[in-house]
Each structure stands twice: as structure tokens, then as C-alpha cells.
Symmetry: C2
Subunit: 332 residues, 2 copies
């Protein structure tokens, strides 16, 4: 069982894999990331993953056999384990608990596609509905407090397999970044009585400079203080703090918008590694007026150097106004 | 002149290079980082850098000519510019100011060494004294509030030249991470009346599990909640909030300890990219009882994926107790 440790200075939690510690010689220098011939996520190889948690599959097909469209399995090398209690304790100035939580993989298609954009909108919709359903299910476990959905595309963005997939990690503590996002939004709300994200999308829709694409329910834009070149955020027009409370008609709108935003990114920057992350409110709060769930899409084109790590201060060589213009001009 | 923009949610500042925006096609996929034949930092090539700000040089030699041991020059592609005023203003929910600040490069030796460890302790001492002197000098400019010294080693850690060097970026705002470190330490101090770092090194010296090397004035240890495999922090035994207030005898002790810590790291992990960053208090505070300057050394062995970016929550496959043991066992 891994261990969760808290840095007392920044209240930053770290998952320490205490079982099989890597030796210095285990860290080889960066490999080219050549795709191996065998893919455990392809249809027919269901036996090479842990047994499925759920799947969207043809009627009459058995679990862990072909016939699925989206399949959710536990991560084979999970960062957290689902069994047992937390055993919280202090060790001098430090805090620890057992690494209880969930780490699931959402395999988005049985075919060996490298990107979610290889799926049509209807299939993307099914993937997003699975995101929501897994969040709702894990939220019932009262040891767990925060669910994070994310996707890594490309070796440099942390992907170890190229077959398109997403991950869900659910933790027994609220991580630092969402806690700080909520604190920032709370202080804006306390002063102005409005949601900061609602104000922000109003301003973005009004000036249009940084908008990449929008529809009735969502807008994708390059944020004013983009950390990374071609960074994009997708924010809903209806105020809602929790991703898992997304409505069915909003899933339709989001599928189309997310797919188009990624197509634009992939055409503007062929082969670029990227991550996207769903930022949402903690499980044990509900209907918060000051926080607004959203998706952050982060292309990984620049190296993050000492300066960024030391300060949380980023240098971005592409103004978001230019980035949005490039992305808008992509031919579809 | 670049622009500083503030993210209203996290109060995160970003430097946006507004002059020569890169186009999507400027971002090529990762190159092998082959060292080019020509090095602008080598002795004899002084004309290939901007004019020197200061240097430790043989008596009677002229600026920007050979005869130096350590040389400080402005960065040729500075993230911030030193002239003009800040022109702070708000744009709806956002904040901006002009990118006023300093961005200097400290060239640590005239010879083409790839690491600070290629220098003997006396020469490392001279480099650290230059760090202190540049901080003291820039602190006099009352537009500037925070100085950050850092080093990038290896392409994957953000280094664009292999000749050993450090950088100093001085900003007109206090960045987010040091602000949060100070807030965390302040709340510990308010409750317990002691410095958190002083408590931490007392505990580390007592248990010894995570200590890599120590001397009379400093201790290098793998922090309890290490984010990265083989992460090391160097903390002074005397409480001091500002790096630039380091005493001469402490520079002696730090030179020996920093050099040894890096030698151990480089022998345990040959060729590994790494960063180190001096974490210190803002210029406009002095003698703070709750904050303690220190150096964080971060090997860059693992990819930072979507999970870490979205949450500030790290997964580390090497417990710091094991990392410290490996580093202690390195033969010198």
C-alpha cells in the first residue's frame, strides 16, 4: 500500500510508493517512446488488463471479452489502493496516511486510435458520460474526497501507452491546487457576490479576442494569463461547481466542443504532446456558488525549468490572443 | 517589453512575451540537444554575450576580455527588461503590468565544464559569493521585490547551453510559491512560536534517516514529502530568512556541502538532468522569524503528467529514506 505524505510548508500531498522502491539505475535516460507492437487496450486483449469495472458494450457480450465501445479498468500499476482504512497519523512535524483511493483507466475505443479525435461526436459523448458515471459512483465512498479526470497524450506528457485513454484518480484528501482555486474564487465571491468564472466568460465572450470556439453551453478560450503556449480552457455557460452534475444536454454540447478544440490543437501543432484535466469541486461540498468546474487543456511544447518550479511563475512565448487566432484559423 | 499578467483564480503571475510571438510551426518536436560546436560562455568568446555586469577577474584585465573566473551578463533573451516603470492596471477581472525586472546569467567558469562540480571548492565559493552580491545589488532597486537564483542542468531541465551557469531573475511581484511558503510557515509560527524549518532540521538531524550529508552550518536531506525521486534540500542550521544575508563563514560551509551533494547526485544518476533553486524571502521584508531560506535540488527523472499539473499532487516512486541511503552510499 502506498503512503500519502504531506509537506508541512505548502500542505502539498505526495504519494510515496513504498513497496518497490526504484534504484538509481532504474532511471534510464529518456527513451524515444517507440510504440511496442502489443497493445493491452485493443479489442481482443481484454485479458491483459485487470478485470473491467464497467463497460459500454453490445447486449449479450460478457465482461472482459470483445463487444465493448468504452471500457473502464483499474490501473495495472495503481498510484493508490482501494482497500482498508486511512490510518492517519503525525510523525513529528509531518503527516501521513495510507494511500487509499482509486486509480482507473478509461479506454475510449476498442480500436487502436491515438487520439480522442479519432472518434465521432457520438462516441466522444459516450466517453464523457462514462467520466460522469465513474465520478458519481466513487463519490459514494465516504473515505474519498476528490476525483480527478485527466488525459495524457504523448510520451512527453506522461503517456505510457498510445491507445487513446483517460485516467481517474480519486484521493482521500483534497489536493492543493483545487483547494487554492476554491479559495481564490471564494474571496472574489465574498467581495463581489459573483462567480469569478462567470465574470470571466462574460468578459471573454464580450471581447472575443481569446475565444477559440463556442456553442450554446460551453466556450473554449485561451486564458488571459496562459502559462503555456496554446493553453485552452473549456468553461460551461451555466454555473455549476461539480463536473458530475453535468446535464445530458450539456454532455452533447461538451462532446462537440471538446472534440473540435482538440482537432484544432492537433492540426495547429501536429504530434504535440498535451494533457487535459477536469478541475472540479470536492465531493463533500455541493452546489457551491463560488466555484465553477472547467477543463484545462495544456500543450506541452516548452520545458518547465527551474524558474517555474521555484516560483509558480511561468514564461509564455505566445500571447493567448495570438494563440486563439492561430487556433481559430485552423481549417476543419 | 514583455507583459506580466495575473491569473485571478490562483494569483499566479505569467510573463507573456508580447513582442515576437512564436507561431505554431516554431514548436518543433523535441530535439536531441546536440551540443553545438560554438559556446558563447567560453573564455575568448566574451564578445558573443551582452556586456558584463560584473566579473571576478585578474587584476588589470579589461571587462569583456579573458582573465575572468566568474562572469555575470544579462540574458541575451531576457524574460524581463530592466527599464521603465510598471504601469500597473486592471482589464476587467484581470491585472497586468509591464515586464520590468532583471534576468542575469552567472557563467561559473571560463572553461567548458558541464557541471559546477567540475570546479574545486574555492571556485564554488566564488560563485556563491557572486550570487549573494548580485542579490544585494538588485535589492536596492525599489521597483523589484523578489530575486530567484536557479540552475538548469541538461536539456530536459530547461538548459539551452551546457557550459555550467546559473541564472538570476528578479521580479516586480512576489511569485506565488514563495508567498505560499511564507504563509504556511507563518501559520506554524503563529501557533507554535517556532520556525518550521528549524523544527524540521532538528527532527531530520535527530532521526538521520533522510540526511545525505551535513556539516557545522548546513544539512542536505531528502525531504519527508519529496515530490521527485532523489530530491534534496539544503537548509542552514542558523535561522535566517534571506539568502543574501549569508555570512562569509557560511558561504565556505555551503560551498563544500552543495558541491558534495551534487557530486553524490551526479554519481548516483550519471547524466541526469536537474534543477536547483534558492528559496528565499522577499526583498521588502527583513529578518523574518518564520521563514528560513534554503536550496531545493530537483532531479528530473520522471515526467510530470496531467495529474500533477491539475492538482499539485505528486507521485514519487522512490521513498526519500531509500533515496538518502543511495546518496549516502555513493563513493567519493
Amino acid at each position: 500500500m502506498p503512503e500519502l505524505r504531506r509537506d508541512p510548508i505548502l500542505s502539498r500531498w505526495v504519494i510515496i510508493a513504498t513497496e518497490r522502491a526504484k534504484r538509481p539505475s532504474d532511471f534510464k535516460q529518456e527513451e524515444a517512446g517507440a510504440p511496442s507492437a502489443f497493445c493491452p487496450f485493443c479489442e481482443g486483449n481484454e485479458g491483459k488488463t485487470p478485470p473491467e469495472i464497467m463497460a459500454c458494450r453490445e447486449e449479450g457480450t460478457a465482461p472482459d471479452t470483445p463487444g465493448w465501445r468504452v471500457r473502464v479498468v483499474p490501473n495495472k500499476f495503481p498510484a493508490l489502493g482501494i482497500d482498508g482504512n486511512l490510518e492517519k497519523r503525525g510523525i513529528g512535524v509531518y503527516d501521513r496516511m495510507r494511500g487509499v483511493g482509486a486509480h482507473e483507466v478509461i479506454i475510449e475505443t476498442p480500436k487502436h486510435e491515438r487520439s480522442l479525435t479519432g472518434l465521432d461526436v457520438g462516441r466522444v459523448r459516450e466517453v464523457l458520460a462514462v467520466y460522469r458515471d465513474r465520478m458519481r459512483d466513487l463519490k459514494k465512498d465516504d473515505r474519498l474526497h476528490y476525483g480527478m479526470l485527466f488525459k495524457n497524450v504523448g510520451v512527453a506528457a506522461g503517456a505510457s501507452l498510445e491507445h487513446t485513454h483517460s485516467q481517474l484518480i480519486v484521493t482521500p484528501v483534497v489536493p492543493r491546487t483545487p483547494m487554492q482555486e476554491m479559495a481564490g474564487c471564494k474571496s472574489f465571491y465574498d467581495y463581489r457576490g459573483r462567480c469569478l468564472f462567470c465574470d470571466m466568460i462574460y468578459q471573454e465572450m464580450d471581447t472575443e479576442q481569446r475565444v477559440v470556439v463556442s456553442n450554446d453551453a460551453f466556450v473554449a478560450f485561451a486564458p488571459y494569463a496562459s502559462r503555456f503556449p496554446f493553453e485552452m480552457w473549456i468553461v460551461g455557460k451555466r454555473h455549476e461547481s461539480h463536473f458530475e452534475d453535468i446535464r445530458d444536454d450539456e454532455i452533447d454540447a461538451l462532446s462537440a466542443l471538446l472534440r473540435e478544440a482538440l482537432v484544432r490543437l492537433e492540426r495547429a501543432l501536429p504530434g504535440a504532446p498535451y494533457n487535459y484535466i477536469v478541475h472540479t469541486a470536492p465531493f463533500n461540498m455541493s452546489g457551491i456558488k463560488h466555484y465553477h468546474w472547467h477543463i484545462e487543456i495544456i500543450p506541452r511544447l516548452t520545458k518547465v525549468a527551474g524558474f517555474e518550479w521555484g516560483t509558480g511563475f511561468y514564461i509564455n512565448p505566445v500571447p493567448p490572443e495570438s494563440a486563439a487566432e492561430f487556433l481559430r484559423e485552423v481549417e476543419l
